[in-house]
Symmetry: C2
Subunit: 252 residues, 2 copies
């Protein structure tokens, strides 16, 4: 099995190292990841600038390819220019911080897996729901297990799995729930500040605005101590609203 790994925390993050070690038990791993952190890049790609790719070492040994682009760039580069064989699986992660609800739209981690899915390859996004004191054990073990399942069962073309894992000891995880994307988002605002030269600038900040009405959601699974697996696809059409919109009888 040929496996392409990327992330958005950058090639020197702990999560991608743990993931690569775990997935080596399932096949040949190629790492192509951003040379620095690229969080909240959405599904950005780099078209106006050249992309640089350099070999990256960890612990004195070759680890993978560091690219001057986004996670989506890395997946495109990996598949189209770096790997000799087309991968059987793309895995993005393990991200520090959950990717739940509408936040998947801003997520570089999910966008890496999105690019894999758009290119017709079964893809997973894996995120650990914490920013501090991560315990990647369960996330690594589950990624390996899921890689085997996806190889056996496959995924529909264009569908990826968005996996979120609670940051608790593997023994305390209650199980796995298949979930839907919740309506959770960030409630954000801007700090208006003045720089040392007297100029105004803004800095985005915010807090998590949980929406927990929906029992089957990604957020509720995580909160209850379960691994959340959400199948995601990219036809954004709001089919339910089409009949109403037809009644508007729009003309130029």
């Amino acid at each position: 099995m040929e496996i392409l790994i990327t992330n958005d925390d950058g090639i020197y993050a702990e999560g991608i190292s743990v993931l690569a070690s775990a997935l080596k038990k399932a096949g040949n791993v190629t790492v192509v990841a951003p040379d620095t952190q690229r969080s909240a890049v959405g599904h950005a790609i780099t078209i106006a600038d050249p992309l640089r790719v350099v070999p990256a070492k960890r612990n004195g040994k070759f680890f993978g390819y560091a690219a001057s682009g986004t996670p989506a760039d890395c997946v495109k580069l990996g598949i189209k220019s770096i790997m000799k064989k087309r991968p059987d699986l793309v895995v993005s992660g393990i991200n520090l911080g959950g990717n739940l609800g509408y936040n998947v739209l801003y997520s570089g981690t999910v966008s890496g897996a999105t690019e894999g899915a758009l290119l017709g390859i079964p893809s997973l996004a894996v995120s650990l729901d914490t920013f501090t004191k991560p315990d990647f054990t369960a996330a690594a073990a589950f990624s390996l297990k899921l890689a085997g399942m996806v190889k056996k069962r496959s995924l529909p073309p264009g569908t990826l799995l968005n996996i979120n894992i609670p940051n608790i000891a593997a023994s305390r995880i209650k199980g796995v729930r298949i979930t839907n994307q919740s309506r959770t988002s960030f409630n954000d605002w801007f700090d208006k500040r003045t720089d040392p030269h007297g100029n105004t600038y803004y800095w985005m900040t915010g807090d998590f605005k949980p929406s927990d009405a929906d029992q089957a959601s990604d957020l509720n699974a995580i909160r209850a101590g379960y691994i959340s697996v959400t199948p995601i696809q990219f036809d954004l059409t709001d089919y339910k609203f089409i009949p109403e919109l037809e009644r508007w009888k729009l003309t130029l």
Copy 2:
């Protein structure tokens, strides 16, 4: 009616000027747009850097606010820090180049409207399907008309309208079609080159890979000379695949 306008071609692009002029007939227009082109940024937001906002003039008169961020940043800034009243409508465009099929995932234009919709405001993304010799007349007229319709009829929370307009004379446009997002994408690859210092770099390039099997799609509407209006929403859950995934009986 309070209207917030953004784009991804930058505040000095022709399309946003034409749009602002047209929408002034519908209400008070505030322009907050990127200071330079931000195409293919996906739904990126800027959290690791400060954002600068400066007044921008066109033809010697104040036109709007130029921000050092993405279209999504601009919409957040406009709503949360710049406008005194919450807007009744967000319009992103008029983009040079169609935003059809899976390319909406990469689109800065659509992401501006996405941010508006996520913040609970009726939002439109408007794109003209050409990169050369644009005729914005029909796009401007239709944007104004649609602004009035949306005010009257509203949109479901979280749903935006993605509008694509063929680059032909208004008199030749055959009408308006309510469409779904097609499976159209770019077929892209990388040019591998060597810089003047002997270092390798890659440059992404590609061509349009039309998928026209689906008669009701955005692409087919444009090709047939119609304005395409696609309602878009952001619950990406692949509900159809959930029953199958449940049968995998996943465990840690």
